[in-house]
């Protein structure tokens, strides 16, 4: 069995009175593409936020190469100490980026008043490469732009791109950080079928370049086609894990997506679950 690069152990996250994650765990192995699915509000994005230090976990551990990212206590505390500890967690968030965990954002966050090339240069300047010179970073940025197919718009303002190009820019910014682990948060939402094919191809090529990928996606066709393994979350906890074909036939998964009554109907009437889950893209679009 290949080495585990990134793992979450019994992670929970509470916002005020709302528990967004309860006891979520997963393992991401070297060089694999791990799909993460689940109905809206399952806690998928929150999980990525806890990994990248945007919202540190309330309890539980996140291990990168076996080392706890939040070594000792997690970042949460009360009262006066909250100010101090929030400075510390911010410190962790940028270190996590420098260690080699990169992410994209579901709601894209381009640096709008920078050109596309400059956006990607930021990733190359910081990230794991942590280059000192802007020209070296710009060279790396050109390489990445070529890789994702954005060279032709390198000089354009980032806010002048199409949706598909904005999603690719998100990916390019993360790749320029030369990460070991890439967390993709719905990079295919809003794309048309041709663009989705292209994006799937891109994700596979990223993996071939030696990056371990965890991908959140609602486009079932894409995630089933691209993932080596899939793990499913519902209501803040993981409910199933396995090969794409196994997961899709898991009664718990069908129930999470369709509710108990319809899940029973599906099982009783022997409907192919893939056909049902395949409806997702339209629902989501």
């Amino acid at each position: 069995m290949t080495e585990v690069v990134l793992a979450a152990e019994h992670v929970s996250k509470v916002f005020g009175g709302v528990t967004a994650l309860r006891d979520a765990s997963f393992e991401l192995r070297r060089g694999e593409i791990l799909g993460l699915i689940g109905p809206n509000g399952a806690g998928k994005t929150t999980l990525i936020n806890t990994i990248t230090g945007v919202d540190p976990p309330t309890t539980g551990r996140i291990l990168f190469h076996g080392k706890d990212l939040y070594g000792g206590g997690s970042g949460e505390s009360r009262g006066l100490m909250r100010g101090v500890s929030s400075v510390l967690t911010k410190t962790r968030a940028y270190r996590i980026g420098q260690m080699g965990i990169a992410r994209t954002w579901q709601v894209v966050k381009p640096f709008q008043n920078m050109s596309v090339r400059e956006n990607v240069t930021v990733g190359a300047l910081f990230g794991t490469g942590n280059r000192g010179s802007v020209s070296a970073a710009a060279a790396k940025a050109d390489e990445v732009l070529e890789f994702v197919g954005l060279s032709r718009v390198g000089d354009h303002a980032a806010d002048a791109l199409t949706i598909a190009d904005r999603k690719r820019l998100e990916l390019a910014k993360a790749l320029a950080m030369e990460p070991e682990v890439l967390l993709l948060d719905e990079v295919m939402a809003g794309l048309n079928l041709v663009e989705i094919e292209g994006a799937m191809d891109l994700v596979r090529r990223v993996r071939e370049s030696g990056v371990s990928v965890m991908i959140i996606e609602h486009v079932m066709k894409a995630i089933m086609g691209v993932s080596d393994r899939v793990f499913v979350m519902d209501a803040g906890a993981n409910i199933a894990e396995g090969k794409p074909a196994e997961v899709i036939n898991n009664p718990l998964v069908i129930e999470a997506y369709l509710g108990k009554r319809y899940a029973q109907k599906v099982l009783d009437e022997g409907i192919d679950p893939a056909a049902i889950v395949g409806i997702e893209p339209e629902i989501h679009a």
């Binding site: 990248t52 230090g53 945007v54 100010g83 929030s86 400075v87 911010k90 410190t91 968030a93 940028y94 270190r95 996590i96 980026g97 420098q98 990169a102 992410r103 966050k109 381009p110 640096f111 709008q112 008043n113 920078m114 400059e118 930021v122 990733g123 300047l125 910081f126 990230g127 794991t128 942590n130 280059r131 000192g132 010179s133 802007v134 970073a137 050109d142 070529e146 994702v148 197919g149 060279s151 032709r152 718009v153 390198g154 000089d155 354009h156 303002a157 002048a160 791109l161 199409t162 598909a164 190009d165 690719r168 910014k173 993360a174 950080m177 041709v194 663009e195 292209g198 191809d201 891109l202």
Partner: protein, 345 residues
């Protein structure tokens, strides 16, 4: 994937000739304008150096004051323009630098230049200490917290005996307009060079990334806290140096003048008027605003402040992004109309 979607580019004026893959040379209107501005600045520098040979006392005073204001606007541009944090309390560092310099020159009998440098360094430190907690705030909250810092600093100076309480401090008198003129010009040139260096360096990329989206910048590995504090402290350093120069130039300082809160707003208006986040914008804005103020003062002595307020309103409405951005576009009167519509509710 590269062949799928045609790029739908909304702006056309700046990107008429799309650069091919790997094209390094970009000649957009923006870069040409920036280059022209830079050349203008380089040409005007020798002229500025020669001014004292011919100028009257009025012009020497006016230009020295303009240089000091330009330094302040340029300093603010680092934190407010590049980093996107609207600091409203820079007079804390201006006044602080003035007071440290004054104290060192009167009680410590230091000579001017070392005292000014010490004032600047003291403000660098003060800026870093204050910045660490205050830079955690964003938006309006940051703006008012920095204003609070300025008022607190003024009140402490006003009340503490070591700063002469509210009594004015008299510095050694020095009647040498050329000295002040050249020191001010030198500091201004240094601040502009610093800005250029920042804009082209890793620091500058980090600061602009923070301005554009702080969360995204953070997870991309930028130590946002440190970068913001560095920007804020550099801003404080330049303000402190300008304050030290001002103290010796005016030879008498007291809290109401060096901690004048309207100076805060004046220097921000200068930066906005010129174009924030550009190296030369604040200087252009300072020159233009000083020109407007002088003209109003000469022609409408009684009403000049009223008209000044009206001028600010008009300028903000018609060019919220400043002159540099205005000339970067191909100039046309309809740009004003577009600006007016751009942010309408």
């Amino acid at each position: 994937m590269a062949d799928t979607a045609e790029p739908l580019v909304r702006r056309s004026s700046e990107q008429e000739s799309p650069a091919g893959p790997g094209a390094k040379k970009r000649r957009t209107t923006a870069t040409i304008v920036d280059r022209v501005l830079l050349i203008c600045a380089l040409v005007s520098l020798p002229i500025m150096v020669l001014v004292p040979l011919h100028a009257t006392g009025y012009w020497m005073n006016l230009l020295t004051e303009l240089f000091i204001l330009s330094i302040l606007a340029t300093a603010w541009n680092i934190i407010g323009g590049y980093t996107g944090y609207a600091a409203f309390g820079n007079v804390a560092f201006f006044g602080g630098g003035a007071y440290v310099t004054a104290e060192l020159m009167t009680r410590g009998a230091w000579s001017f230049i070392p005292a000014m440098l010490a004032g600047g360094l003291a403000m660098l430190l003060y800026g870093a200490i204050v910045g660490l907690p205050v830079l955690r705030l964003r938006g309006h909250y940051f703006a008012i917290a920095t204003l609070g810092v300025a008022i607190m600093t003024r009140e402490l100076t006003n009340n503490l005996a070591i700063f002469g309480a509210s009594q004015p401090i008299n510095l050694p008198l020095k009647n040498d307009p050329n000295l002040f003129y050249y020191v001010a010009l030198g500091l201004l040139v240094v601040s502009i060079i610093v800005t250029y260096l920042i804009a082209r360096s890793k620091l500058g990329f980090g600061l602009v990334a923070i301005r554009e989206n702080e969360d995204a910048a953070l997870v991309m590995g930028i130590n946002t806290t440190m970068y913001k504090v560095v920007a804020f402290a550099l801003n404080a350093l330049l303000c402190g140096l300008a304050g030290g120069l001002y103290a010796y130039w005016h030879s008498t300082i007291d809290p109401p003048t060096v901690f004048d809160l309207t100076t805060n707003v004046r220097l921000i208006i200068m930066a906005v008027l010129g174009g924030i986040g550009t190296p030369l914008g604040p200087v252009i804005g300072a020159a233009l605003l000083t020109f407007i103020q002088e003209t109003l003062w000469k022609n409408f002595t009684n009403l000049h402040a009223v008209l000044f307020g009206a001028a600010i309103v008009v300028v903000v409405l018609l060019m919220p992004r400043g002159i540099v951005y205005l000339v970067r576009q191909k100039f046309a009167w309809r740009i004003f109309v577009r600006n007016l519509r751009q942010y309408r509710v």
